[in-house]
């Protein structure tokens, strides 16, 4: 079975943004929309400064909150790994934008849909690399199948300073002196899960309980009137 892992070596990223442009080109995105973005991250105090480029994009979570909150099921996780969207089903409610821990969903005002990176699933199926990997000038991006022993991904993941993003198949190699703080922490999904798996079911249960109680009450009065007991105004 295919089990994709994606590696980005931030220690060699030159911040050229070729990945951003190649992705926009491949996906027909207007300039203001980008699935993969490159930021400069700076830390320390002058003159002891460190800086790195940081990549921000969909990490194709193992259990994607964006798919969990999607009311129509437009966003879904594939068995191979990529998280995809059926745009015919997207109603533009933006729940996914709110739920995503990596700020990776982009709203297309023209299409009125919340778009995202596909990990170039169509290319992967055809045995090709994603546009961002193919175009990366410094070879910072590597994708491969963890179940394929010959994949170059295994060598890449052995590079020192490589960290896995929890709950995803994404790995970043950080430059010396840069800590994991530079990367999005993927937190804040607790409230999303509580909303979906506790609050909404509880709310529906309370409504169901109310409906059941009033049906029971109506039934009790119906039985009473059949028996000819009247409605018996208790506090009159």
């Amino acid at each position: 079975m295919t089990h994709y892992a994606y590696f980005i070596d931030l220690s060699v990223c030159a911040g050229c943004e070729s990945c951003t442009v190649a992705c926009q080109n491949k996906n027909g995105l207007r300039p203001e929309l980008a699935y993969t973005k490159v930021h400069r991250y700076e830390t320390g105090t002058f003159p002891d400064l460190k800086s790195s480029f940081v990549v921000n994009q969909c990490l194709h979570c193992d259990e994607p909150p964006c798919a969990e909150v999607c009311p129509t099921g437009a966003t879904y996780k594939t068995v191979e790994g990529p998280v995809l969207v059926d745009y015919e089903q997207c109603i533009g409610c933006k729940y996914c934008i709110v739920a995503c821990p990596y700020d990776a969903r982009v709203f297309d005002e023209e299409q009125r849909t919340a778009r995202k990176c596909t990990e170039c699933a169509d290319r992967l199926v055809a045995g090709r690399k994603p546009a961002c990997v193919e175009t990366c000038l410094t070879g910072a991006r590597v994708i491969g199948d963890l179940d394929d022993p010959k994949s170059p991904i295994h060598e890449a993941l052995k590079r020192p300073g490589t960290v896995q993003m929890a709950g995803t198949g994404f790995y970043f190699r950080l430059p010396e002196g840069i800590t994991k703080d530079a990367l999005a922490d993927g937190g804040g999904t607790g409230v999303v899960r509580a909303w979906q798996s506790v609050l909404q079911p509880a709310g529906q249960l309370i409504m169901g309980g109310a409906a059941a109680a009033l049906l029971a009450s109506a039934a009790a009065f119906a039985v009473k009137s059949v028996k000819g007991g009247g409605t018996g105004h208790g506090h009159d």
Partner: protein, 223 residues
């Protein structure tokens, strides 16, 4: 339809209970709430959105936002303009519970299921209606604030947007449960439904008002 604005009074076998502004506030709130609940719940009930299809869901989204304007802007001004004094008393009174109110609440479940119980005398609104009022007043505020925040949810800090969504949908479902109870009591429950006309013509049967709201009824000016 009686259109008197002279406040509570008795006329023959009828008692005047709600002025026009109170009825407008009630029905604008009730109808807009039900439309909002229906269009909003399509996002909550699993499978509903997929079943209804994209264009219906987008129509629901638009309807939700338009009706939200009515929900937000009609009831409070209607009460302020047409029933300021009685609305003020209603709000203040809703948060005050005396001994009789507590005894009423203890006995209410029996009355709800048609069992024999003697309930204590109540004021203009009984303790159950006070609780409904508290939920409606606070619920309205929560739904309006979180709802309008959600129109711009992608501009809010993510953590805040997540809490806002969770609060909005849970409060909506909770109020949905409350309103089911209210509709049942007001239109079906044999002990409570004689009061329904209070929200249509404004008048209710005197015998019912005497039994239901004795403390209020006894203070009414005769004619």
């Amino acid at each position: 339809m009686a259109t008197t604005k002279s406040g509570p009074h008795i006329q023959g076998e009828k008692v005047f209970r709600f002025v026009l502004a109170e009825r407008i506030a009630h029905w604008s709130h009730a109808i807009s709430f039900l439309v909002l609940l229906f269009t909003g719940m399509a996002l909550v009930v699993r499978g509903a959105a997929a079943l209804l299809g994209t264009s219906v869901m987008q129509g629901f989204g638009l309807t939700h936002r338009i009706v939200a304007v009515v929900f937000t802007l009609v009831a409070v001004p209607a009460l302020m303009l047409g029933a300021r004094k009685s609305a003020g008393e209603w709000v203040r009174g809703s948060f005050r519970f005396d001994r009789d109110d507590l005894r009423f609440l203890a006995g209410f479940p029996k009355d709800f299921f048609g069992l024999k119980v003697t309930l204590p005398d109540q004021g203009r609104f009984n303790a159950g209606e006070k609780i409904n009022s508290i939920f409606q007043i606070l619920g309205w505020f929560v739904m309006v604030v979180t709802g309008w925040m959600l129109v711009w949810k992608d501009a809010l800090p993510r953590g805040l947007a997540r809490w806002t969504l969770a609060t909005h949908s849970f409060t909506a479902l909770f109020l949905g449960a409350v309103v089911l109870g209210h509709i049942y009591l007001a239109s079906i429950h044999p002990h409570a439904r004689p009061g329904f006309t209070g929200m249509t013509s404004g008048w209710v049967p005197a015998w019912w008002a005497r039994g239901h709201y004795r403390k209020w009824f006894e203070k009414l000016p005769e004619r």
